[in-house]
């Protein structure tokens, strides 16, 4: 079973203070790991290590026990700023992995339309990227990563630019996509409720150096998948308690 491992990794950018200190994290297929923590605590750096964009200063990043030497098609990334290709149409952006794999245009188009439909952008395939709104672009970025059918999905605040309503719809979409594929997922967010709602495990990070100060197993997402409504979950006493608990551990560590 797919297994992504960060084993006692430390990271310091050239000449700077350590950004991550001796951090360990495991993500398995079947898991939806959500990382929260205040701005600048090293969340993006952590994701960049997992993606292979950065090499740790010490420690190791492993996939199925083998060291990661760089980015690869097994770990698709959704970026904090969309990082789409403006010279390609929306559909060609979504099917970029297929284009790299040499798949024929017609088939690429069918794939793109399928995934655009999943993220609620059906019919926008022919639009140039620069004529999409920020929220639409983020969803194209998500569709592009999903279409690559990776073994791990790494997402850096993928819902950051969305309005509240679209955001909730996209959360459900993420849950369903995860439930269908059981792709091991790492998601970074600033939203505590979002973290609880999506995660099978919530990770709280604290800064200087970035480290994990809290791990919390939750099952609200599974309750949602079992058919309970989002409102009833978010209003339930256990959710409220978990939220307060999580906020406490974010702020407590911040004050320290």
């Amino acid at each position: 079973m797919a297994h992504l491992q960060l084993d006692s990794v430390s990271l310091r950018y050239e000449g700077g203070a350590p950004v991550l200190g001796n951090l360990s994290l495991d993500i398995r297929a079947d898991e939806f790991v959500v990382v929260v923590g205040r701005s600048g605590c090293g969340k993006t750096s952590l994701l960049n290590l997992a993606a292979g964009f950065l090499a740790p200063s010490s420690g190791q990043v492993l996939v199925d026990g083998r060291p990661v030497t760089g980015p690869g098609a097994d770990r698709a990334v959704v970026f904090q700023n969309d990082a789409l290709f403006p010279w390609l149409s929306t559909a060609e952006n979504v099917a970029f992995a297929a284009r790299l794999a040499g798949i024929a245009p017609a088939e690429r188009r069918a794939q793109a339309d399928r995934y655009l439909d999943i993220v609620g952008l059906a019919g926008l395939g022919d639009r140039p990227i620069w004529q999409l709104s920020g929220g639409q672009r983020q969803r194209v970025g998500l569709a592009r990563a999903l279409a690559a059918e990776p073994r791990f999905l790494l997402m850096d605040e993928p819902l950051g630019a969305l309005d509240a309503m679209t955001r909730e719809a996209m959360q459900d979409l993420l849950l369903e996509a995860w439930n269908r594929t059981r792709t091991g997922t790492l998601l970074i967010t600033h939203g505590v409720e979002e973290a609880l709602y999506l995660a099978t495990r919530v990770i709280v990070m604290a800064p200087q150096p970035g480290r994990i100060v809290r791990r919390l197993e939750v099952d609200f997402g599974r309750r949602r998948l079992a058919g309970e409504s989002a409102r009833s979950i978010k209003a339930s006493p256990s959710f409220v308690a978990a939220r307060e608990d999580l906020l406490d551990s974010i702020f407590e560590r911040e004050a320290a």
């Binding site: 292979g52 980015p71 990082a83 010279w87 970029f96 284009r99 790299l100 140039p128 592009r144 790494l154």
Partner: protein, 282 residues
């Protein structure tokens, strides 16, 4: 110089303007166009007045009408054994031959400088050496080495075009968004695929800008290039006219060069808009 004018002239053909910070620009366009037209009109008026009242001798400053007449005569009957169109065709041919050659050489060099330390170390000194040398300085050397034929003229223009294209291409390559490169790599792109699918399209706007600047540099070198035993060309026509003190043809030649450069600039901007409509938008 002509950049803003070209922009003003081409404003209406802009594809669907979207909301955003660029929105303010179109509102200024008519103002720019009107002011530009006024400037040109007053310059021509001052010129007409100066020559009409003989403030300056006609030998030094022929009237606008005389220049217009020179245009018609040279277009119809020719000057120094060729019509205006033949002169123009000769010059355009040289400039375009130089542009094609310079682009084919400069773009790969720009990629090498922009993407690798070795490439940078290899080519940077050459480009930095060539860049500041005025064409008239290397002109004699080119003649000694390559003779006085057509290739020498093209070479002189081409050398002037090299540096702008190399430098813009290198800047464009270096400026390719790191997240886009990472995105492609995490979707399985190999090094070649990165080049083909991300770096090349990503630096295309900069390459086109370089070509546009190079074209300007090429035109400015034209007269120097046509000093070399030419028998046709706008630069040659101007020089011959100057030797016989046919000032109206000199002025007419200058205006034709300006007009052609302006038109080419407009064409290139149109190409940019078609080819890289996203440039500056994300």
């Amino acid at each position: 110089m002509s950049l803003d004018l070209a922009e003003a002239a081409l404003a209406p053909s802009r594809p669907a303007e979207r909301a955003g910070p660029t929105k303010a620009a179109p509102r200024n366009r008519p103002v720019v166009a009107i002011t530009a037209a006024l400037t040109i009109a007053s310059l021509v008026l001052a010129w007409a007045i100066a020559s009409h009242f003989q403030l300056v001798s006609a030998l030094f400053l022929p009237s606008p009408v005389a220049v217009g007449k020179a245009f018609v005569t040279v277009a119809r009957d020719g000057f120094v054994d060729a019509t205006l169109w033949q002169h123009l065709a000769a010059s355009l041919g040289r400039v375009f031959a130089a542009l094609v050659g310079a682009t084919l050489i400069a773009v790969p060099i720009g990629f090498a400088i922009g993407s690798s330390a070795v490439g940078r170390g290899t080519f940077d000194p050459i480009i930095e050496f060539l860049r500041p040398i005025p064409p008239l300085a290397y002109l004699p050397l080119v003649i000694i080495w390559f003779g006085i034929g057509e290739p020498s003229k093209i070479l002189i223009i081409g050398i002037a075009m090299l540096a702008p294209i190399v430098i813009s291409t290198a800047t464009g390559v270096k400026g390719v968004d790191a997240d886009r490169l990472n995105a492609a790599r995490s979707l399985g792109a190999t090094r070649r695929q990165l080049l083909r699918h991300v770096i090349l399209p990503g630096s295309l706007p900069a390459i086109l800008t370089g070509i546009r600047i190079a074209l300007g540099a090429g035109w400015s070198t034209l007269v120097a290039a046509e000093l070399v035993a030419a028998s046709r060309g706008l630069g040659f026509m101007i020089q011959s006219a100057a030797q016989f003190l046919v000032t109206d043809v000199v002025l007419m030649g200058i205006l034709v060069i300006a007009a052609v450069a302006f038109a080419l600039e407009a064409v290139l901007r149109w190409i940019e808009r078609r080819l890289v409509p996203w440039a500056g938008k994300s």
